[in-house]
Symmetry: D2
Subunit: 118 residues, 4 copies
């Protein structure tokens, strides 16, 4: 009952129904919208150094908070359309990651999980 994923999913369902927007919300389109929002979130950081990205001022943080919400909302909407339980999917993925990246082998090395060395 208190699960935020379910509550937000239901609120998004109602929001779309009231606007007759279900017709636009195919999983394909929602996945596109999600990527667009992720890119907008990333844009907040693109000209900052890594150090600066750790010390956002209040104006920057407000923009970031807004974009984080956009990503989260589209992700919940997409998962809802596909009957995916996000929390269960996350727990399953974390178990996979624990096996894939054994702490004693990858410790301190980003190289172990960079793209071009897959």
């Amino acid at each position: 009952m208190s699960d935020p994923f379910k509550q937000l999913r239901d609120a998004l369902d109602q929001f779309a129904t009231e606007r007759d927007w279900d017709q636009f919300h195919s999983p394909k389109n929602l996945a596109m919208a999600l990527t667009v929002e992720a890119a907008e979130l990333q844009e907040c950081f693109q000209w900052l150094t890594e150090a600066q990205s750790r010390e956002l001022d209040e104006q920057q943080l407000a923009a970031v908070r807004d974009e984080i919400a956009d990503v989260q909302l589209y992700l919940i909407r997409l998962a809802g359309k596909l009957d995916v339980d996000i929390e269960a999917a996350c727990r399953a993925k974390m178990e996979k990651n624990v096996e894939k990246y054994p702490a004693d082998q990858v410790k301190g090395s980003a190289k172990k999980y960079t793209h071009y060395q897959d």
Copy 2:
């Protein structure tokens, strides 16, 4: 206590600490990783029609579930690094959206929220 955002955030903290990966997890880098995962999720749909995207088979759905988890985990990790309460941010954003897109004015029209007409 039962909030999945907090539980997953703590699990991700531990996962990174055990691997000494905090050094790579600046908000800037996490935002990049999030976009990459969103694109991988989108890739599952890119050659499907919208209709096909609504009727995934089990193999397709397993891939999608995995990518949804990746996006969610990086989003929680990024929000955790910036002390952003995702659930609160989502509720605030939904209130904004209700005002920005009055149901009686935008009903059935995607045009009202397309990019080039902003």
Copy 3:
């Protein structure tokens, strides 16, 4: 001399030098900016059907043209910073693709190159 990639690369060099923006233009940052522009281009299409995306009106096309330019300009800038010859890279990649996707085997099937079946 008449190569548009070289001419645009030089124009971008001059543009950045005049603004003292080289300091922001690390390959990492340029790759981020490129993805953001690609997402903005994609955003023009996200609520359109595939059929609608083939029949843009002049206003939509002007927006798309602008975003195509943004992607191209960042790509040239990034390649310039890394001394990558875009045209040669494209020709090498096309040769690889001809081998990877033999026409007689993949004909008419998008499935052969979808992500989750790699």
Copy 4:
């Protein structure tokens, strides 16, 4: 005749025709594929520092070169489908940018073109 954009566009047309892939290449789908490739390019840099991104080794550079080609090829394919002259679009955009970012006003300041201050 020697314009690389036109030559590559024609080569891509032939490649798709031979595989009967035109059916998948709506502008919407091509824009999605372009973003996915841009994200793959970005992925090469995501765990590198900005300094490291300026000093790629040969293996890293080979991966980057490949992804730059993928982005370029989808951009040419998309522009071709929409009859957009990429080079002309780039020149028009650069003129706009020269006006939008007067060198004497924005010199040395990335803040002038960050997202959250637009």
